[in-house]
Subunit: 210 residues, 2 copies
């Protein structure tokens, strides 16, 4: 039975990105601090074709984060390119070879033809989160569907009771402002089912109870 | 070498109390949900003269939370009784036998004579957080000084670089609104030094680096 999952790095004060996000700085001011533990890890570096990095308790978490995922869901803001109709030249933040290597379904109000970039196909869905999930489930087969972000997409699926599992990488930094994850999500029943502690991050996996 | 410590239950969205706190409901709406794991635990119940309750991974955390503490610091709001000059009949939220059993220093703008209630002496400090800490350190001897709350007192000591250790009991509930802990605290450097996971709460102890 596949699950709808999500894993996100979050500051101790609840932000998944810093303030003033822009095309030049999609993580927002200070937002990079949420990801340094991953970027400096040997497992993350290997996944992205880089050498070096540390091996520690975070490594296994990083490796498991991409396993068993058959399709991704993503908000328009996460894919980037502004709010209006698409500029067909915009191909996302990730360069010529996006890291997903699986079908990605992008929630948007503006239609666009599918975009294929070296092993990752982006399909643009304009008829709502349930339709996008249905398409992602079909594409994923018996594997999991992962919500890649951003905050608004996660909030919508969590509020709708469609998220099964949320893993938070709780990073001990205080950003002060930025994009909060847990707003407008209703009153979900969450149960911690796995905790992995490293010297820099606490990874807690929550099951969303029905 | 003694430490200045603090341990607080916090919701997954960052609140240590629910909205609309009042004399009748000092934890705010839904705030009780942050403490159910403790109130239902055998160790907490025994500390408060009650029988029954569960034994689990939370028990040790509860037992350690009151060990080695020689004095407490507390904000005016945590002691209660409104914002203005003191009503000398107000003796705090905790009834005839407060649970502290150690000297408590209450931060306030309004002078008041010390109050002794069966093993707990409350001293009212009007000349600032550093003076209160100095008095608490003197009273604590070689034991730790604990900041009992509320949010504003913790924020002031954290922002001033006077807090050494912060233990958060991260409770998997979403309160949506209420009193946030980590606002106006600057940019503290925190390092997780201990994590205890129970089926209901994740306890993370952070050291505040200088």
């Amino acid at each position: 039975m596949h699950l709808v999952t999500c894993q996100l790095a979050i500051s101790l004060d609840g932000f998944i990105a810093g303030p003033n996000q822009s095309l030049e700085n999609p993580l927002g001011e200070g937002g990079m601090r949420l990801h340094e533990w991953a970027f400096s890890n040997a497992s993350w570096r290997a996944q992205h074709g880089m050498e070096g990095g540390e091996h520690n308790a975070d490594s296994q978490v990083i490796e498991e984060a991409t396993q068993g995922i058959g399709a991704y869901l993503m908000g328009r803001k996460m894919f980037g390119g502004g709010d209006g109709p698409w500029d067909e030249n915009w191909t996302g933040w990730w360069g010529d070879e996006p890291p997903y290597h699986a079908p990605v379904f992008v929630l948007t109000h503006h239609p666009r033809q599918p975009l294929e970039l070296r092993g990752t196909t982006f399909t643009f869905v304009t008829d709502g989160i349930e339709s996008a999930l249905e398409q992602a489930r079909a594409a994923a087969g018996d594997q999991n569907v992962a919500i890649a972000g951003g905050a608004q997409a996660v909030q919508q699926y969590l509020a709708a009771g469609l998220l099964d599992q949320l893993q938070l990488h709780i990073v001990p930094v205080v950003l002060g402002s930025g994009e909060r994850l847990l707003v407008d999500v209703g009153n979900p029943l969450l149960q911690p089912v796995q905790v992995v502690a490293s010297p820099s991050v606490t990874h807690v996996t929550y099951r969303v109870l029905r």
